[in-house]
Amino acid sequence: MLMTERQTQADTIEALAKKFGKDRTGLMPILQEIQAKYKHISDFAMQEIARELDIHPVEVYSVISFYAFLRSKQTGKFVIRLCRTLSCEMAGKKRVARQLENELGVAFGETTSDGRFTLEYANCLGLCDQGPAMLVNDVAFTEVTPEKVHEIIQECKRTFSVYAQEVQKHV
């Protein structure tokens, strides 16, 4: 990681710690914000957080490793979480899963080599009456079919290139 990038991360964490309180109750919200912003929580970030909250780095890592949505390794820009629990399973999850794998060329639990997509299973998303259900980042998709999968992925790719262009503009 570049020095300047470290500094921005450290500043972000400091600001978050100020916002959520410099004790352990602030840990989850801080982790969630860092995760959302950087798509993972780096070992540098973990140690910064530990320092701010006066806890041990291993405790931060331990907490991250507990929660399915928190990651210590880089994830894709789009994290796709397909529900694998009973109601969705019965509503046709398998076909959707196969289409996702084909579409992205990766298996569940993996990230595409371009770093754009991470594909994983989730447990019941609370959308069981409209299964199969999946989340793309925070957005919920219901009654997903293989055809819909194709559209959703295309849409993501479009946003991604828009995003990438925007980043380009700012550099």
Binding site: D23, R24, D43, M46, Q47, R51, I55, H56, P57, V58, E59, Y61, S62, S65, F66, S72
Partner: protein, 646 residues
């Protein structure tokens, strides 16, 4: 509302890391006793007592695994479940506070089935064979399997490794395939020691005890204290055992193998041979060591005495320069440096305070340096052929002797750090029945030692030994150790942090000869100390060290101190990470008793009276304490390591 803190004297256990503290409200408001019926026997226990403790009172044995007397409650292994009437599910007796009259059954069929199933579950994932395991015959899992008559693996048995053994550390070896996830090590490292190396990583059946980002132990901020080993119920954690190399050295006729033995192992080793805790086997051990083939058996107390002289001189010089010369560069209070776990702790956590740490080496390292120089010289042995072994109660000593700077003799000053447990193993292997063999003395020239050296083993011991010497050297009056002990009784015992102020008399003696040997000592009378009040403190267990340091940073009362003794391990060295397992507050007390009674048995009880020490200065370290050669051989420097894990 009251926190029921188990062994509150050594555990800081901040709220944030101790969510499982049992906290209950005395709703009947009388704070009195509650009746509990266990297996038909009635007993009245203080409100809030756990079922487990209540059962102990009436000698009902309930098996446990994750419970440890030194640690806060976890309630995770579920081996200790019992049937409480009126409850739908079984209750973990270690975690169930009795707050109203209850009826408990500890061996109902439901309970027995549950325990048996739980043990079978643990065994199904346990990869390891008892006969090739350090904890064979001293393993809580093995004992449980025996108690519950496990005769087959009902839920299968894993046949392949799932985790690699972490062998990276000089001090510890972690084999997570033998781990039962009781988390005693985690609670030890975070609550008791405040180091925070270990944590539970992952969840569900993928949970494993790991380090930050699963790095090897050598790459994280482990202080090598080994307290986690002492509390691990299984062979998942062990010290790195050098006994094979030591046997090889002994078997090599070219090698001159000498061993120095620290005071704490003597107080503990009997436990390895089935004796009650607190029976010292000092002189039996000497015989055993010779029978094992060591060429010389020396007493680390010799260099403990030397440490007192060097560290004491250093303290006096610091005091003079700070108080009289008003040199603002001088760091006070001076911190002791003999506990390598503590040294590594401060290098990581408070590197900006390293100037406070005495530059004197630990007794172990002083000994190594003296052996490979002075001893080699007077005996005409090539230091390259000398192998120095240090018998220590401590796993951190293994790291200490491997510090690159610890080779001031021109060789690796101490070749191997051997723990009490490992020596016991060597003695067993040699077919020696330790408690029943004849006694013999230490070898000269470093055989003579004093009671001061012995009490180094207990928390407060270094301080007390230093006071014996300082008091006498400064006042010029003969100090009676027992009278002094009465005067400074606050520094004995197991309180986590101890504090004492000691005022010197107005009339002081002449500066003694031993100090005058060092021509750089800038004063020739003690006038500047007349009537001075020395402020002293003692802390053991790094959690308590942290409290003291935080107080110093905050400018509290400990920042006013002149001298502070720190020991990494709860109880001091006698509770070290290389001592026999198990460890409990009672066992540590018994060992302390053994150490103090041994002190009383010594004829010479003050370091500066040790004739061998005096002779060493006269013949070898001729520029006196803190002199040039002493500095080269007996002093060291530290590395500010910091907390960042790359």
């Amino acid at each position: 509302m009251e926190d029921k803190k188990i062994n509150s004297d050594t555990s800081r256990a901040p709220k944030s890391v101790k969510p499982h503290t049992i906290k209950i409200e005395d709703t009947d408001g009388i704070g009195g006793k509650v009746k509990v019926t266990i297996d038909g026997v009635d007993v009245r226990v203080p409100f809030g007592t756990t079922i487990l403790d209540a059962a102990k009172m009436i000698n009902v044995h309930i098996p446990t695994l994750c419970h440890h007397e030194d640690l806060c409650v976890a309630g995770v292994c579920r081996v200790c479940v019992v049937d409480v009437e009126g409850q739908r599910t079984l209750q973990a007796s270690c975690a169930y506070p009795i707050t109203q009259p209850i009826v408990v059954h500890t061996t109902s069929p439901k309970v027995r089935r549950a325990r048996r199933n739980i043990i079978d579950l643990l065994l199904s994932k346990h990869y390891g064979e008892c006969y090739s395991c350090v904890r064979n015959n001293n393993c809580e899992l093995q004992t449980l399997a025996k108690e519950y008559g496990v005769d087959k693996y009902r839920f299968g048995h894993i046949t392949e490794r799932r985790h690699e053994v972490d062998n990276s550390s000089y001090a510890l070896r972690r084999d997570m395939d033998k781990c039962v996830l009781c988390r005693r090590c985690v609670r030890t490292c975070i609550d008791l020691q405040e180091v925070g190396v270990l944590g539970a990583i992952g969840r569900g059946d993928e949970t494993v005890i790991g380090t930050f980002m699963d790095k090897p132990l050598a790459d994280v901020i482990c202080i090598n204290c080994g307290q986690c080993i002492n509390r691990c119920p299984t062979g998942a954690l062990q010290a790195n055992d050098p006994s094979d190399e030591i046997w090889n050295a002994i078997d090599d006729p070219k090698k001159h193998v000498v061993i120095q033995t620290a005071p704490s192992p003597r107080a503990g080793i009997g436990e390895e041979f089935g004796l009650e805790p607190g029976v010292p086997l000092t002189f039996e051990m000497n015989t055993a060591l010779r029978r094992c083939g060591f060429d010389k058996v020396f007493d680390t107390n010799f260099t403990a005495d030397l440490t007192i002289i060097e560290e004491g001189t250093e303290l006096i010089l610091r005091l003079y320069n700070a108080l009289v010369k008003k040199d603002p560069q001088i760091a006070l209070p001076q911190f002791t440096s003999c506990s390598p776990g503590w040294v590594k702790y401060i290098e990581h956590f408070y590197p900006e305070y390293l100037a406070h740490v005495s530059s004197s080496k630990s007794p172990q390292q002083m000994f190594g340096a003296v052996i490979k120089t002075y001893y080699a010289q007077i005996n005409n042995i090539d230091p390259a052929d000398i192998v120095t072994v240090a018998l220590m109660p401590c796993s951190a000593k293994k790291f200490e002797c491997n510090r690159p700077e610890m080779s001031d003799s021109g060789y690796k000053d101490v070749d191997y750090g051997l723990t009490t447990r490992e020596l016991a193993q060597m003695i067993r292997e040699a077919g020696i029945d330790l408690p029943r063999i004849p006694k013999s003395d230490f070898d000269d020239p470093f055989g003579s030692a004093t009671g001061s050296g012995v009490i180094f083993g207990a928390t407060g011991g270094v301080m007390e030994a230093a006071l014996r010497t300082v008091f006498e050297l400064v006042t010029g009056q003969i100090a009676d150790p027992d009278a002094l002990a009465g005067q400074v009784s606050e520094i004995r015992g197991f309180d986590g942090i101890k504090y004492k102020e000691l005022t010197l008399p107005e009339k002081l003696g002449p500066v003694p000869d031993i100090l005058r040997m060092n021509k750089d000592v800038p004063f020739d009378s003690w006038d500047w100390l007349s009537g001075a009040t020395l402020k002293l403190a003692v802390a053991h267990g790094t959690a308590n060290a942290k409290k003291v340091l935080d107080d110093i940073i905050a400018g509290g009362k400990f920042s006013e101190c002149h001298f502070i003794e720190f020991m990494a391990c709860p109880g001091g060295c006698l509770g070290g990470g290389g001592q026999p397992i198990p460890t409990t507050p009672e066992i540590r007390k018994a060992r302390a008793k053994a150490i103090y009674s041994e002190d009383q048995a010594y004829e010479i009880r003050k370091s500066h009276d040790n004739p061998a020490v005096v002779e060493l200065y006269v013949k070898f370290l001729t520029e006196g304490p803190n002199g040039h050669l002493a500095h080269k051989l007996l002093h060291t420097h530290y590395t500010p390591r910091g907390k960042y894990i790359a």
